[in-house]
Symmetry: C2
Subunit: 208 residues, 2 copies
DNA sequence: TAGATTGTTAATCGATTAACAATC
DNA sequence: TAGATTGTTAATCGATTAACAATC
């Protein structure tokens, strides 16, 4: 089932997932790749190709059952399992992530915040306790943590990403303005906010 | 100079920009595409191709002057011009964006926050005033706004994106969990946080 | 000049789209 | 069965990489 599915395909799965949810909410029971392609502004061909990487979810002459396809993609994306996250940095962004409640319904659980500021230690944000960053290594060694979200300053991020990798973390959600330097088997998902603003800026300046 | 440069190329420019900044900070004066490729984990070929879309910044036998290349890419990205941003939604994420001071050095200026909660009206976040969301349309018509950042709930985002488009906004920084439905000439840069978490989740579940 | 490295063309690779036989 | 639409193979397109002549 899973022989080297390209990043492009994987990155489209959450989008399918979103559109299917919407269709469920609208009470749509079945949909053809053709109809879905019109909604999503993709080609029907691509949709069928993408889905067939994971199995034959459709039925000739009928299309796809919305509910069951939604469920299948959810399974593929792993929303049926819990994922434990720690957040490095209890600044504005780190706290905003923890306060947002939209992640939990897909199995993402914030376990702890960590900050260099010791005066924050012991406080809680949305029920999630803040610890000092020096406790982070020990914490991931003694808890079942899947993902580390990094919302700390660049220099601290360099240091902590390596330290957390050594402690066993392999999945990173990186909000810092650098590329993490980690071994090949670390999976880093970057959210480079400044980069995305700069892309907008490029479009503003070059495409009047 | 500017005949249809692909999105892939444009999306790499901020990254070049970051690495060049770092090299400047380290006091590096010149760099070859070969050296840079090792740093950035790209091919030297790609770097030379990419840069040559915008002009011959290098010199045979020498390489690229770090400072001047940084400056040139900055110009291309438009960091020498100011960009005015409004933020729809004064929730945790909206406030975090406004409070983060790392954008201003590249010309990004937050002009106003807007929220449905009228009790917030008149307050300020990091010196940026909060207004009621019903004032947003009038505000963009009477001020020089380039970018609208959306950090509001889905239903409100659908409504407000159309309204802002009609008021003249063409550039959107979208943090909501939907794809905006706007005419072709609207440029939307999505920051789909849940999508990126789901990609991580996929990797966790499918690549042990 | 010789060496280094670019700018640029050509080759390769991978991803997207088109086409159609299979089948519900 | 006939019509619709998938699953899948083949064709196309675009992006990446390799190669090398140009040139500093």
């Amino acid at each position: 089932m899973n022989n080297k599915i390209s990043k492009a395909v994987i990155s489209r799965l959450p989008r399918y997932y979103r559109y299917l949810k919407e269709l469920i909410d609208q009470g749509v029971e079945r949909i053809s790749s053709e109809e879905l392609s019109r909604l999503m502004k993709a080609t029907a061909s691509q949709i069928r190709q993408d889905l067939n990487h994971f199995g034959g979810f459709g039925q000739q002459g009928y299309g796809y059952n919305v509910k069951s396809l939604y469920k299948e993609i959810g399974k593929i994306l792993g929303v049926e399992e819990d994922h434990h996250i720690i957040v490095l940095g209890a600044g504005n962004l780190g706290r905003a992530l923890v306060k947002y409640n939209g992640f939990s319904e897909h199995g993402f659980i914030f376990c702890s915040l960590f900050d260099v500021d010791e005066t924050l230690c012991g406080k809680s944000v949305n029920g999630v306790r803040i610890r000092t960053i020096s406790e982070a290594e020990e914490y991931v060694k003694t808890h079942n943590i899947d993902i580390a979200a990094l919302t700390i300053p660049v220099e601290k991020a360099r240091e902590m990403s390596v330290l957390l990798y050594q402690a066993g973390i392999r999945y990173f959600w990186n909000f810092t303005n650098i590329d993490l330097q980690l071994p090949e088997d670390a999976i880093v998902k970057d959210v480079h906010l400044l980069d995305s603003l700069l892309e907008l800026s490029y479009r503003i300046c070059n495409e009047k």
